[in-house]
Amino acid sequence: MSSEDFEPEIIAFLCNWCSYAGADLAGVSREQYPPNALNIKVMCSSRVSPEHVFESFHEGADAVLISGCHPGDCHYIDGNYKTMRKAELMKKMLDDFGINPQRLRLEWVSSAEGGKFAKVMEEFTEEIKELGPLDLNGTSLEGENDE
């Protein structure tokens, strides 16, 4: 697939209080950004487990975004610090799995940052377009029995 007609599939985990609200505000402000990401709302970014991220890649996502409140702003006091550390570990592990850690992005977007949300979407989509599709099956074993 040439990189020009490649449309990355992105899963975006957004926390309810800041980033989901920021995404809403981007709408209210009629920001325009590429439609590649599909948002999944969680109450707090700390709910996102590596399992969810790995499953996303395994199921065909080209990239995953986790977005929460800015450090110190977490609605649940300190959830985003946990997310920060988890994301760091996930990136290391993705690297070992042969997946470019750039495909996992952690962003702090507040509920007042509609513009930033749009910008993150735009940048991230561009970045992943440049990286190209994530091909997980090229080296997959025959007889592998995925569900």
Binding site: P35, C44, K82, A112, E113, A118
Partner: protein
Amino acid sequence: MKKMKKDVLVIGGGITGVQSALDLADKGYEVVIVDKKPSIGGNMVKLDKTFPTDDCSICISAPKMVETSRHENIELLTYSEVEDMSGSVGGFNVDVWRRTKYVDPSECTGCGDCADSCPVEVPNEFDEELSTRKAIYVEYPQSVPLTYTIDYENCVGCGACERVCDAESIHFLERSEQIKLNVGSIIIATGFEMMEPDEWREEYGYDQYDDVVTALEYERLLSSSGPTEGNILKPSDGKAPEKVAWIQCVGSRCKQKGMPYCSRVCCMYATKEASITKGDDPDIEPYVHYMDLRAYGKDFQQYYEKAQEKGVKYRRGRPSRVYKTEDDKLAVEYEDTEKGEVKTNKVDMVVLSSAIVPSKGNEKLAEILGIEVDEHGFFESKDILTAPMESTRDGIYLAGCSQSPKDIPDSVAQASGAAAKALQPLKGRKRKGKPEKPEERDITEEEPRIGVFICHCGKNIANYLDVEKVMESIKDIPEVRYVSDPTFACSEDAQAEFKDAVEEHRLNRFVVAACSPRTHAELFKDTLEEIGLNRYLLEMANIRNQCSWVHSDDPEKATEKAKRLTKMAVSKAKRLAALKEHEIEVGDKTVIIGGGPAGMQTALSMADAGQEVTLIERDDKLGGKLNRLNTLFPSDIDAGELARNMSHRIEDQDNITVKTSTEVQEVEGYVGNYELTLSDGEVIESDTIVLTTGFKEIDPDDFYNYEGDDRIMTQMELDEALEKDSLEDPENVVFINCVGSMEEERPWCCRVGCGNSLKNAKAIKERYPDSNVYILYKDMRVFGKNEEEYYADVQEQNGVIFLRYSTEDKPQVSEKGDKIHIKVHDNLLDDDVEIDSDYLVLAMQLEGDPSASELQKMLKLSSNPSGFFMEAHAKLRPLEFPSEGVYLAGGAHYPKNIADTLSQADGAASKAEVPMMRGYTKSVGMIAAIDDDRCSGCKMCISVCPYGAIDFNEEDEVAEITDVLCKGCGSCASVCPSNAITQKGFDDDQISAMIRSALTDEVV
């Protein structure tokens, strides 16, 4: 004309008014908020971030506003003003004039089509007129209520908005109306305005130069939702400045050119703005021109230090003028008081920290309500120290900046305090109980039967994506039994359709693909509840805010995305289960730990509201530090008398049990269920706990030859000496401020030391008029009501001499004959001064009471390195802890003067009374649950829970969640290594289904 009978009227819907209203409404009182603006929110929502935590201001205030607007006991009258009042405490009759918005709030969907079509552009007040808005507008995107308003003065009557409004919510014939309110008490929370800089300080060129802005204007420039989207750009040419200078005290601290008082917040917001500026754009050089840097609050000094480390430069001295130079720069001319020379600072932009002034309507409102304002226009308190929240008339209470300038935590503390006061005249009134709910249908045995609504949102969705195709994509899914595409899913008609569809198809779950669940899920959930379905059987797909609006340039892709979002929602909906909001009874017993002024006031306040109070004090009598202090700053009232007076009132109260010479040894349980073991062996039960453990002076032994010399004493010891009158007619007395403060080991400011030095210096001068009194200080931090004025008096009337020293060059103390020899380098004179003194008074650094660390462990709380408890949220929840049931006030939070202490005490009482008066507290639905059969007791989850909701059951060796304490963040579910924890409503199966559905484009 409309009539309304309510319990309390709150005038002003800023953060203070909102907090007062919520406190009362949560207890079952009916509250009406009157705000003259179309939306509540006041000034706080305009701010970019808040000091000293840099919290995003709108992010933390918006949820409170939404809660307010949805509260069953709160009525919002926006765009309204109080016109007239009669009656008296317990029965005020208030006339309110509600201006028409020409838009029906029950029909307006907030889509904004009307504003797009409006041809009239006018300056946008919300952006401090740095941008424009239309004649039909909402103040800001998160406005509450989210109803558009036609601004009559600017509307040209073209009717364009009416024609484009699909919801037909615009009615030009709707008229303003008078509303007759009957209420028992009134809270005034009219907030503040900022002084127009040109009123007093035209020399700063605010009117002349575009690039001289007020701090509030700058706040809008910083805000990512402001006119420059958070980019710092000069208004004159839209370019980034290289240097920005803040000028402090513009109109403050100057009798001749403005207001004599300190505006209390400017030093910190200027520091915040400057440090954010530096953080956002490291190329900008920020300067703050100040007189005394008043970083007095909790973590303020550390924030100020950090700003300096970041590169914010501070210049001492009040600038004399701002003028334009030949190279088109703005020159700030000032006398560098540390060097004694006149200098100019050439910058590109000047920000004026303009004085906080009373709201313009205060005087008129005072007249209507029959109460007093002070000489500036702030509402007068009955007593600024002992009754700060009581107006000069019974039944009318004051909170926040309506009374005097203050920051957000002090305002919300007063808001809660005023709420506690406001319920006194309401005794005997019936409060609203738990709302009745229709019976719920048990669906556990039913197969999923899903109804899907794809909303057009007028044209907002339908214009940009193909609703038909979205419907098509899910209509053959076996579990989907009903599909519909209402023009507005939130309309009354659509709610009726929900009901019919359930009856006809026996639906048991719903998907609404429409706008944002943040604004509309509660509405649909209410509908579900009315139909007899559990409110959690709803999933929304956000195909407007996060799809049609943001991909309006590509309808095809928007349609594809909407299809997927809907399929994801259906996939999750298949797995939705009914969730329960767990309740626990909370009775009327409270234990207050610490019998100083904070504890005594909390006890009095709660006892007055009918709670059973046990007040525990370590000493053999109540009063705490009041027993040792001579007088109180800045009113010079007798501290001991206040203590005795409060003690007597406590003795008179039947429902306060005082336990002196007692300490708490053990605490078990949680809200509604505490068990405290006391030092005398007694075990008492309690529903809530309030911590008022106070503060103490640090050990003075290592400072300024204190040890072993009776003439050198701490501030507290001087107070005792003055009380006993044991000083021997001194010739010279020297005070050293900030002893042990604001240094590496203890970097915080003690908040009260400067004031104490002032009042004791004055006391000595008055008692020994011939003596010379010197105060050696770093920054004179007096900020509260009447404090700056007091400082000016002590300088001018009492002739106390002030010498400013720096941390690097501290005073030297030595023995000289029978005198104490003090040598200090005075910054302002740039010269050494030597004094032979009879007494040396040390204003010691203050720290949390040592008992705090024990209590902290027992109650699973946290405290900061200074030994003060860490509250739930520095700005908006200063009197609470993350876990419900424990509250704090006074010095346990941070040292503070009596007015602030009593405000907090009443506020903490109000907070504790919320679950107690409601009789229960309840959890959210999406709490976590632990499967005992899978829990291995690894204890990973326990420390992860920010609310202390997880405990270890030693007997069964499993972790247990106290349902009512869980707030549903889900972090424990992500932590559990053996999958024993699930977060209801966000379990792994549901999240995984959404992932798979998104990536396979199928319902899974």
